[in-house]
């Protein structure tokens, strides 16, 4: 029941009264959050969500539980907003463990002065992404802080999911000979955010790749139940996941640069700023490691899903001479370089 925003407050902006526990807060919860998230009258009466254990047990033998806090500037960008990120991020963290997401919580920290219309767009995007992922937002909380204490809006989501008995996915489970795949182009989110900030004055058609990956993961696991490792490549990019993979398994991850799928626009942004798409953030990309004998089946399964059309095999796991593990990038010139993670975020090179 998409209600109107009138009656929530003055001037269409959040005030400290919306966090004060009185009627303004009740109106905000009813007209913004419940109207978007609630799926039945019973869902809203209690202080906590209640999940039926028997129903969960029927779907698997392990409960997966994860949490993530979301801050982004700008709050809205081509391809989504902070709400899309908050739902997709937590759904994806569950999915890459082989879990079917069941329910999410959402906690909001709102800055005094935030436009209600913007909050509504964020909440609607969350409802939409949740529906796309087939997951419910069952509990939540809101706090309002003075305007200098928060940059517009922060969201924290937690999620639970259920893992089927036959799936055993672990970052440390990679084996010599395994093949590394990604489900599509690298760095779309990071490049889109850089351009959306506006201070580059670059005109691009780039969109964030933000998407819930659970149906893609289900398709992949249906085709290849024996996926060894899987992780979504968010901050730190695909490079970050490859480094974790190498460290956890003690193996050498050998990646062929020419096989990395990168959009020409992303490549262009990287050229101008001296950045590497391997390190740029993604919000709808995962890295999967499968036995070589199943690689083609895994690739075909991913490519048959709308979120995996540009999926590619990008490398292999090999024994590491020192047993330390590492990531090696082989370029088209036959040259090889060792991939090292930067200590912080990549900073643009200008001069």
């Amino acid at each position: 029941m998409p209600g109107t925003l009138t009656g929530i407050g003055v001037d269409g902006r959040i005030t400290l009264a919306h966090g004060g526990g009185g009627s303004a807060m009740r109106a905000l919860i009813d007209k913004v959050f419940l109207s978007a998230f609630a799926q039945g009258p019973a869902a809203v009466q209690e202080d906590q969500a209640r999940l039926d254990l028997a129903a969960l047990s029927a779907r698997g033998d392990r409960l997966a539980f994860t949490t993530d806090a979301f801050v982004v500037e700008p709050l809205e960008f081509p391809g989504g907003n902070i709400g899309t990120l908050a739902v997709c991020g937590t759904v994806n963290d569950l999915a890459v463990g082989g879990a079917s997401p069941v329910a999410l919580s959402a906690a909001f920290v709102l800055a005094e002065g935030l436009e209600l219309a913007l909050l509504r767009r964020v909440v609607d995007a969350m409802a939409q992404s949740a529906a796309q992922a087939g997951v419910r937002i069952v509990t939540g909380d809101t706090k309002v802080v003075p305007r200098h204490a928060c940059d517009g809006l922060f969201v924290t989501t937690s999620g639970v999911g259920v893992i089927r008995p036959q799936y055993n996915i672990s970052i440390a489970a990679g084996q010599v000979g395994d093949v590394v795949l990604v489900n599509g182009t690298l760095g779309d989110h990071g490049a889109a955010i850089l351009c959306a900030r506006g201070d580059l004055a670059l005109q691009t058609s780039l969109q964030s790749d933000c998407a819930p990956l659970n149906t893609l993961v289900e398709t992949l696991l249906h085709a290849v139940p024996d996926v060894h490792c899987m992780r979504d490549a968010t901050r730190g990019g695909v490079a970050g996941v490859l480094s974790e993979l190498a460290e956890a398994s003690g193996l050498l991850v050998k990646v062929h640069e020419a096989t990395l799928p990168v959009r020409p626009e992303v490549e262009g942004v990287c050229e101008i700023l001296g950045l590497d798409p391997l390190f740029l953030a993604n919000e709808g990309k995962l890295v999967a490691v499968v036995p070589a004998s199943h690689a083609q089946r895994a690739l075909a399964a991913m490519q048959g899903h709308p979120l995996g059309r540009n999926a590619a095999v990008i490398g292999t796991l090999q024994a590491s001479p020192g047993g330390q593990g590492g990531v090696q990038i082989v370029n088209e010139f036959g040259g090889a370089r060792v991939l090292t993670m930067p200590s912080g975020e990549q900073l643009p090179r200008i001069c």
């Binding site: 020192g322 040259g335 930067p342 643009p348 001069c351």
Partner: protein, 373 residues
Amino acid sequence: MRFVKEFRDPHLAEALLARINHVAERIGHRRARPVTVMEVCGGHTHTIFRYGLDRRLPANIEFAHGPGCPVCVLPKGRIEDAIALAHRPDVIFTTFGDAMRVPGGRGSLLQARAAGADVRMVYSPLDALALARANPERQVVFFALGFETTAPSTALTILRAGAENIGNFSIMCQHITIIPTLRALLAQPDFTVDGFIGPGHVSMVIGTDPYAFIARDFRRPLVVAGFEPLDILHSLLMVLRQIEAGEARVENQYARVVAAQGNKAAIAAIERVYEVRAECEWRGLGQIAGSGLQLRAEWAGFDAEKRFAMQPHHLADLEQCRCGDVLTGRIKPPQCQSFGRACAPDHPAGALMVSSEGACAAYYEYHGVGEAA
């Protein structure tokens, strides 16, 4: 991507490498010592390591990695000065992303920001000027750094600020020029570099004529080069051919961007706004006469050092760092005892570990620590 991919074609690279091998073999018959070619520019250093070009060269050809990374050669004392300025409550301190991580004596601008200083990353000095317009109650300072590549955009920003009479904008000028430093290197008696790959972006501004003395007075060939792997290999081949023929000329491989006379409008802007500093300190190399730029008296109103009566710090480079020896081609980065131990990209002790265009950081990033040359 057009005009980029073409210059990364692996088949053409193989063809160039085959020719480089032939020339190197013929040169090798005539001399015992390997041929050392210095790429002056940090952008070239980055390309060489990024594509592993150094590992594809014949045994008797070596790259020496030159001083052309403006971030690397930022002296520690200047970073201290910048941080002190950034901590003033009335100041918004702006600079390029590259400079944010450079450590001074007690931390970087990034750390100063975490400690409460208002430090902002900009992509152009014009962004800093826009901040000044938008914040008339604050003083906006731009940390202007780089070679002739970035000096014109700072100069045009000063001219704009002057025309608009913007009173709350100033620059901390750390613009430097490459020619005096090349001359100082060449004048060293044990400088064994046989030829140069000349900087592309700097030459786009200054042209190729200012390098004439290198061929004429020091009998070394120099080839101005672009930044893609084929540009580097092609330029190396051109240098080697000159060495084989016993010639020393200035050639331009990067003619698609660089004109012999450079960019006249950019040169005019530089000359209108700056004058040469008597002395300028380079991290790793020390004081080099005539290698820095400062604002002319006419524009002194935009000089942050004058506006804030700054007292410049001087901090010596660490003794165990051998940046100077790497910069002059005497040793390779792993031959420095600090490399990968006391000095690594997340805690750089020496200049060349500071930016990914520095020879040591590029070595560390692309070869790893365990590997010797």
